[in-house]
Symmetry: C2
């Protein structure tokens, strides 16, 4: 039996190109004990995959050249030699970019396929929601009345962070890349203010103007000059969660910028990078709150969906052009 | 009644010069209700004073031009209109650089003058010891077996941090500025290794060589390129306490360097600036441990003493040339 797959053809230099990926046919192995045959339904594409395309220095799990890219996905079980999964069930896990795949039962989890839209398991119910919740609650620890600034605010994680911060009684400022997204953040998602960094010359002043009481919390998805501008406006005791650095992922030289330690010192501020999988013990709590807020209508979500397996590379590239609002999903 | 004082004559441009200070005579006001007349015995000079000599942007309490510099000091009460302090008692507080001064009782604390040397109240028993303890225990939270790197390791705070980390069972690496200090750290203060950054070309490699298991904790007193080199060797879950940035205090341009956020992200690392006075509730605990360790002979300390009121500016300048081992003190 044959299937199509998408492999990493070359390590991207700077911004990834479609030519860094290659489509090919591959054989499907037989389904051995403890394995399942899956048909992926939805893939999540995420900025962090860019790092896995580099030589493995920073992230341990570097993709191999000529091997399929992998990302979080929802899939239907077609055939099973596992004691835990039955044909017809829907599962979530990190899957290779293949139209059909045989994988170990390990790392797969069942999801409720009647939930509509089921793709939400890749976004607000999944890693996106958990990342937003853990980063905000466990790294930033917001108090009501504090000012929270979020970069890539209309992105998958940013959208959830902003709404949770509003639920907690914070003043919430989003930084985003188009006037349309500015409008969306304020009118649809309850942000107090939003700034289009692409049309703003003096970001530091612009942030100072809307953050009249300074910045208590910065949820950073982008890094670079946007972060410099936010850090210029920190309050004493500020907390910064580093969730992503998308503005730097395609950098071909070592990114340099103002040294921030003296600001952290004089402001008694804290900055912490985090990876959500290190907080698994907090997941049940997080899921309980996320579920409640979605049910109550306090937490809304949106996805940008590309259609078809062949669109996986284009959807991934779209992340770096701000083509997504909310989670970027590929429906197979 | 007249006395001598040292005022800030001009805001230093880069490295402070003796000409930034001016000696002058001034009158002593009468001692009003709630005030005391003090004769300073010992002054502490500290790197952070450099920031107070700048225009007040970062630190709120900028020194005023033509007004006396102030620093932590021990003094004898000569005359008192306070209900709390009596002539003959020894007190500690932030005092102007004056041979005699009249100050409010607020902010003064009595010390036990029989303690020998009493100057230790300015170092291991005082802010220095507390800063080391709070920064290490409450910011870095070391575990036995972890590797701790300390910059300005032979300085006042660094010396205490290293010894506490050894008491806790950590592997301790000091970075310092002379071969003499390297030897001192290892033979007198129990550091496992020490590196002379002035004679080491590739600091990042040198740190990697002695930190065979990577760096779990970095206690940063200096900033700049030394910090870049340490950050290159961070382990996953590393903690960085920013206590000082002495290498940058005299910078006349905005210091730039490698952006560190991506490293903090990939290493799930935390960096936090702190000021010891924000941890007052932890002081009693800290003092109890510091006292015990000194009594047990586990925590040793040294001071570098300049003699005479006129030496205050020179002692302060000496901090930037590494003229001190341990705490820099001026005995009046």
């Amino acid at each position: 039996m044959n299937t199509k797959q998408i492999v990493l053809a070359s390590r991207p230099k700077g911004l990834p190109q479609l030519t860094d990926f290659r489509f090919e046919h591959t054989g499907l192995p037989e389904v051995k004990k403890g394995e399942v045959l899956l048909k992926p339904l939805y893939y999540s594409v995420d900025p962090y995959l860019r790092n896995r395309m580099n030589d493995g220095k920073l992230y341990s799990q570097s993709f191999k050249i000529d091997h399929p890219v992998e990302s979080n996905a929802l899939a239907k079980v077609i055939e099973s030699s596992s004691d835990y999964f039955n044909p017809g069930e829907t599962v979530i896990g990190i899957l290779p970019w293949r139209e059909m795949c045989v994988v170990s039962e390990k790392g797969l989890q069942k999801v409720d396929a009647t939930h509509d839209p089921v793709s939400n398991y890749l976004s607000v119910w999944g890693m996106t929601g958990l990342t937003a919740y853990i980063g905000l609650m466990h790294i930033c620890k917001p108090l009501a009345g504090e000012t929270v600034v979020i970069s890539a605010a209309a992105g998958a994680v940013g959208l959830v962070v902003g709404q949770i911060a509003k639920i907690l009684g914070c003043r919430v400022i989003g930084i985003t890349g188009s006037d349309e997204k500015v409008k969306l953040l304020v009118s649809n998602y309850g942000f107090d203010e939003a700034i289009n960094y692409k049309t703003t010359t003096y970001m530091s002043n612009a942030i100072g103007t809307v953050c009249t009481d300074g910045v208590d919390i910065y949820f950073d998805n982008v890094g670079g000059e946007i972060s410099d501008a936010v850090i210029n406006n920190l309050n004493s005791g500020a907390r910064i969660a580093i969730c992503g650095q998308i503005s730097l992922y395609n950098s071909t030289t070592l990114p340099v910028g103002p040294r921030i330690q003296e600001t952290l010192l004089t402001k008694s501020a804290m900055m912490r990078g985090f990876q959500v999988n290190n907080f698994k013990s907090e997941f049940p709590d997080a899921i309980q709150y996320l579920t409640k807020w979605v049910k109550d209508g306090q937490l809304k979500f949106t996805e940008t969906t590309f259609q078809g397996f062949a669109q996986l590379p284009a959807a991934f590239l779209g992340l770096f052009n701000g083509e997504n609002t909310g989670k970027m999903i590929v429906k197979i």
